[in-house]
Amino acid sequence: TVGAVAVDMEGNVACATSTGGMLNKMEGRVGDTPCIGSGGYADNHSGAVSTTGHGETIMKVTLARLVLFYIEQGHSVEAASDMGLAYMKSRVGGLGGVVTVDPRGNWAARFSSLQMAWAAAQKDTLHYGLYVGE
């Protein structure tokens, strides 16, 4: 799965997610990616999220919308992302990752899996990582 979130000069947010699905999946299986609130969500009031990970569990907790609910409650993008992933892990045993922005340009790339390749470009600075803590 690949995905992106962005905030433009006018403060509008957007998300996009794309996937080939799950290795050796059943023909016709559809995971979280094309489902609003699961594979991604974007709302100028709270932010935008693109998700990756175990699709069936992402769908059960509507992970993208869940992260934005936490932002609406006043949590930072980083804390909201971690809380969404932690809920998914504890409630349904799912692992995954998210990239998140809020309309002010705060951003996070967080994951509960072993690794997630991510990168962020802001103010002519490029940030990137692969392992937890990078």
Partner: protein, 166 residues
Amino acid sequence: MLPVVVVHGGAGHIPKERSEKSTSAVSSAARSGYLVLQGGGSSMDAVVEAVSQLENNPAFNAGCGSVLNAKGEVEMDALVMDGKTLGSGAVSAVRNVANPVELARMVMDKTSHACLTAEGASIFARSMGVPEVPHESLITEYSRMRWRKNLLPGADPVECQMGKMG
């Protein structure tokens, strides 16, 4: 408020030999998306640009390089969402399209629907003049090798764990 683009190339286990490729590809995609913003493009333009670039990179499980289903075929899903209007578009189980994310954007821009699936998505793609690409062009040696390995009884548990990450 600072414009920003953040991208991911998927969660899971990334084999050592592919980690450098993955990191440089997500960095390049984030840079490309950011260039779109710097040029006055919208956040939607930026995310579609970044994701299209990743779909075209065989190092990732989307577009070219997608994992294969049980029959050894490619079925892809994609979604876009615009935070200004809450407009969204998606496609699922789509085949023979190089960039499902661009097709998802067309669903948002050109139809009143939220998601088109399988053959319906293909018919829509044809009606929009989206070029059909050969199925084989989306399949890499790596994805075929993983598919074969995972068919074997007692397949590597690390490989199976990877496969659970969509």
